[in-house]
Subunit: 210 residues, 2 copies
DNA sequence: AACACTATGTAACCTATGTTACTGTAGGCT
DNA sequence: AGCCTACAGTAACATAGGTTACATAGTGTT
């Protein structure tokens, strides 16, 4: 595990902290689609992402869902920290978007390191900041963009996360993540195809014009 | 200033930290409507709210605005911290909602205290957490609620902030904060009045049924 | 009073999006 | 082949919300 750590977090943390993480953390490997966190669950450890990506979703009381953002390699979900400290329940759902490898760090250690390592402190603060910026972007997207623009952005974001312009996704999945209906998605996708921005296929979509 | 501090933050911070804040912070008093922070500005100090409330707004590239949340007494805007560390520009606009008194703390001190005082560290983490929860609530509101529900929620939130069910606001202002048009607001307000939930008057609205 | 200015009410219309319903088609399975 | 199921295309319609235009009513000023 120590090589994984050095490779992905070595530029952030000093050797001693890497050793601490190595001895306290638990390595975990999950397949795409694996649910890492459910709304209402209590949280007891924080994930450090070694490879892959996690998609963070919000759900309302009717069960309607909405994609908020992705967490990628070298990052973490700092919200876990404050949830742990405040004994709060998770407010979001986390699902592996691709096959993902991560290191789970127990909450007492996280708190301990906050006092012990300046670099860890910065990491946590930076992580909060990134999450906040991503939430702001999510707000922008739903508040200021039209559905066709949102779909295009969704495809572009997804292409970046999976590192491929051929995106394996069904219209139904898009509708689910964007909190709209399949028919609307199909309609607008067809329009985007006619504009030459994408190519539609069964079970996948190709981005033509980025 | 020290009494203000003891009164509003005494339960959070030890005496020594209160003294530190007292000697480094600058007391500031601003009237309702005063713009405390503009999008794109660099940030050099963090506000501790002694009394009053601040409204946080997001703006898109076309100048369209959207109310995100309020910051109230005893709280702070922790985002400032990570903005300062990362030398980032503000992503939001902050306007005093009521007459407001605050203490501005310079950024170097904030960082120093993160290492020195456990209570300050917790305060910052808790603040990030609160902001995050409020942003999530904002997402819920725009993603899952209809405009009439959003207007009602807007009025209720505002009533709580100003501590009064008689809300001094024009239809135009509501339209602005919710990123819609005045005509739509007037239409839906009238509907809410017919449902017996509010009373409309020139320049103010009374909440009847909470 | 006469005027100007702002806030509000409302009608008529337009567009984006959501809904229902039906069709066709690709791929897997027996 | 025949069957089943998930996916995609599309028409027809319903509704929320945005737009334009105009009328009316307070409020303050001269």
């Amino acid at each position: 595990m120590i090589e994984e750590l050095q490779q992905n977090f070595g530029y952030l943390f000093e050797e001693e902290l890497l050793q601490d993480i190595n001895s306290s953390g638990v390595f975990k490997e999950v397949p795409a689609g694996f649910k890492l966190m459910e709304i209402g669950e209590y949280i007891k450890s924080m994930p450090l992402l070694v490879s892959g990506s996690i998609k963070i979703l919000r759900e309302d009381t009717n069960g309607d869902e909405l994609l908020l953002y992705y967490i990628e390699r070298g990052d973490t979900c700092a919200m876990t920290l404050s949830c742990c400290i405040g004994q709060a329940k998770s407010q979001i759902r986390a699902v592996a978007e691709t096959d993902t490898r991560l290191i789970m760090v127990p909450v007492q250690k996280m708190e301990e390191w906050m006092g012990k390592y300046k670099s860890w402190q910065n990491f946590i603060i930076q992580s909060y900041h990134s999450r906040m910026m991503e939430l702001l972007e999510a707000v922008d997207t739903i508040a200021f963009l039209k559905m066709d623009e949102r779909i295009l952005k969704y495809l572009q974001d997804k292409a970046k996360v999976i590192g491929n312009d051929e995106i394996p996704v069904t219209h139904q999945e898009i509708a689910h993540d964007l909190h709209t209906s399949r028919v609307v998605v199909s309609r607008l996708l067809k329009k985007l195809e006619n504009l030459g921005k994408i190519h539609l296929h069964r079970n996948h979509i190709t981005i033509v014009d980025l």
